[in-house]
């Protein structure tokens, strides 16, 4: 009996080792069921499309945050990068006449801006060894400054070609689902790359990674560059969803991205986690927000109930995750 219990807990442990996002998946399933119970339409195609459309940006930003957290770093500037890229592409598309071609060009430039921001963060934190929390907070102020320079006030509309595509359908299937599928393939392929393995190795024990010959500094810089690139992708979704430019649009998203990473079972100390978990974490935040609405919480209480639910989910996730690894 005791032996059986041990093997089953060993099995659970092995599962958790391979799939650290299992608790998140469970919470997600429960939340989906509750959403469906209180508002059946929320689990219909239309409901799910709306959820994905709204939270795709946070999913991508949580993925972005995950790459630096892998290596035990953190990036508090991801929200500012979203704002900056949002402003850059909206202004650029306006300047280029709002055609489909301008949208493609803007996406290219936006990715370059995200990459550059990530590179700046990586150089400061890894190469110059500034403390990640304060250094990326400082760069977030700097990036927001550039965003304000490019677009001083919110409200410049994005060209219709851009947001109609994002919110529209293609062969009767919502466009965001194509994005989600492409994203899933990219993440699946990414998870097998040498860079991700090395980021996790650095996060697990930087000293040992260094001693076994890994270029720790270069790896951490690349982690920040990945974060910058995925933040730019998140900015495209924000732009598609809000259909306008806003120099402060991403500010509130930074801490949610950290929360989503933790909800997904990734350890902030580094060396352990998955990007899939972070995607689930972002969806958990989205589903908590909608559930609080669907159960009929009075509007002034909604933020408090959301806050409490997220806090409890965070705590439960950390405790269950550790139990499984201990």
């Amino acid at each position: 009996m005791a032996g059986a219990a041990r093997t089953s807990s060993g099995g659970f442990r092995r599962w958790m080792e391979r799939y650290p996002f299992l608790p998140a998946l469970l919470i997600l399933a429960v939340l989906l069921a509750l959403n469906g119970f209180y508002q059946p339409r929320s689990v219909s195609l239309v409901g799910i499309t709306g959820l994905v459309k709204t939270y795709l940006a946070l999913m991508l930003l949580a993925v972005a945050q995950t790459y630096v957290v892998y290596a035990g770093d953190i990036d508090l500037s991801v929200g500012a990068i979203v704002s900056l890229v949002n402003c850059v592409i909206v202004v650029l598309m306006q300047y280029m006449g709002g055609t489909a071609f301008s949208a493609l060009g803007a996406i290219g430039v936006g990715l370059a801006v995200g990459l550059a921001c990530g590179l700046v963060n990586g150089l400061l934190v890894a190469t110059f060894r500034l403390q990640a929390i304060v250094a990326t907070f400082a760069t977030s102020i700097f990036f927001t400054g550039i965003a304000l320079y490019i677009l001083p006030v919110a409200g410049l509309p994005a060209p219709a070609a851009f947001w109609r595509t994002y919110g529209g359908r293609f062969l009767d299937i919502p466009f965001v689902f194509y994005v989600a599928v492409v994203l899933a393939v990219i993440l699946w392929a990414m998870a097998r790359t040498r860079l991700v393995m090395r980021l996790l190795a650095v996060g697990d024990d930087a000293q040992r990674a260094f001693q076994s010959g890994l270029p720790v500094t270069a790896i951490r810089v690349r982690g920040y560059v990945m974060t910058g690139l995925f933040s730019a992708l998140a900015a495209f979704c924000v732009t598609g969803d809000t259909a306008s430019g806003d120099p402060l649009v991403g500010g509130k998203m930074t801490l949610y991205s950290v929360a989503a990473v933790v909800l997904g079972g990734t350890a902030l100390s580094g060396g352990y986690g998955t990007v899939v978990g972070s995607v689930f974490g972002a969806l958990i935040i989205g589903l908590i927000n909608s559930l609080v609405y669907f159960v009929g919480t009075p509007s002034e209480w909604q933020n408090l109930v959301q806050g409490l639910a997220i806090l409890i989910a965070l705590m439960a996730g950390v405790v269950v995750g550790r139990r499984a690894r201990a």
Binding site: I146, L304, L311
Partner: protein, 317 residues
């Protein structure tokens, strides 16, 4: 102490930078460094510095300790104080009691989560920040924002003793108490002990959990005190008034020479760090540039200043 060692002292660096920035501000706009202006700067710095006192303890206690909920506690405390005193001096004692209890309560929640459930401080206080922000929305729907009592406003802005307002004296007192607490008491030594090596401290018989809970409770209390003073400074409280202190309180600690890894540093440096940060912000509001330029210069200057402070060690085989 030779010159080389002296320029590596964070306190010396911070004080030198303060003098340089004051001179620069005076050059940019004559009158910037006038006594009256400096006094005004110190009042603003005191608000940040009091929040940073709690932040300082949490960071010293190590285990990647930071308290992201301080901003929420400041906002909550300001609104609780405003309602408990509602413009009457007689309500001040009750307001102080109520605010300190509120701050201590949320600090206690943080401390319990971090110790009993072993949630990383960043995660715990991030979650608590969300709860506090939600609570603020609820409170603001139900009750007015409240007003500061005249005596409280006087305490913050009018000369009290030797030409300095009460809040400056309060800050000095907090500085002295913190210095004594950290260097002369068992509690202080234990904070450093758990910050530099929690396991060793535990083995040596330090009640690690109790100390860590106390640290978070104190952080909540300091944030609550800052909230009361902030109410006195601005007259009435408004939504999320404390948010501006969340990350700057961490930067003040870092500029004061306490690394985020914990276990070393002190509050005297943090006070200088708070003054430094306040002067920097004040210079940027003095010069006539756009908000965008202001933010870019502020961010770049923060990065530049960080190069003066304990950078991480290079990897060695």
């Amino acid at each position: 102490m030779n010159v080389g060692a002296l320029v590596r002292q964070p306190l010396v660096v911070a004080l030198a930078l303060i003098v340089v920035l004051l001179a620069f501000g005076e050059w940019l706009s004559p009158g910037f460094a006038a006594p009256q202006q400096i006094l005004r700067l110190l009042i603003v710095a005191a608000l940040l510095g009091i929040v940073a006192a709690g932040q300082n303890l949490v960071i010293l206690g190590g285990r990647e300790g930071i308290d992201l909920s301080v901003g929420g506690v400041v906002s909550l405390s300001a609104i609780v104080a405003g309602n408990l005193m509602s413009g009457a001096d007689s309500g001040i004692p009750l307001a102080i009691l109520g605010c300190v209890a509120t701050g201590a309560l949320f600090g206690l929640f943080n401390g319990l989560g971090v110790t009993l459930l072993r949630i990383p401080p960043l995660v715990m206080t991030l979650g608590m920040l969300g709860v506090l922000q939600g609570l603020l929305v609820v409170i603001r729907q139900g009750i007015p924002s409240g007003r500061a009592a005249p005596a409280l406003s006087q305490f913050v802005s009018q000369p009290f003793l030797l030409g300095l307002p009460g809040i400056i004296w309060l800050w000095i007192a907090i500085g002295v108490v913190m210095a004594l607490l950290l260097t002369r008491t068992v509690f202080g030594h234990r904070v450093y002990a758990i910050g530099s090596n929690e396991h060793a401290a535990y083995m040596a018989g330090v009640p690690v959990r109790l100390i860590r809970i106390a640290i978070f409770v104190l952080s909540g209390v300091f944030a609550a005190i800052a909230g009361i003073c902030l109410l006195g400074y601005s007259g009435s409280s408004f939504a999320n008034v404390g948010e501006q202190y969340m990350l700057p309180s961490i930067i003040a600690v870092v500029f004061g020479g306490t690394p985020l890894s914990g276990g070393k540093g002190g509050y005297t440096g943090t006070m200088a760090g708070a003054v430094l940060l306040t002067i920097l912000q004040s210079i940027l509001t003095t010069v006539h540039i756009d908000e965008s330029g202001r933010q870019m210069v502020f961010g770049a200057t923060l990065i530049l200043l960080m190069f003066f402070y304990g950078r991480g060690k290079a990897m060695r085989a």
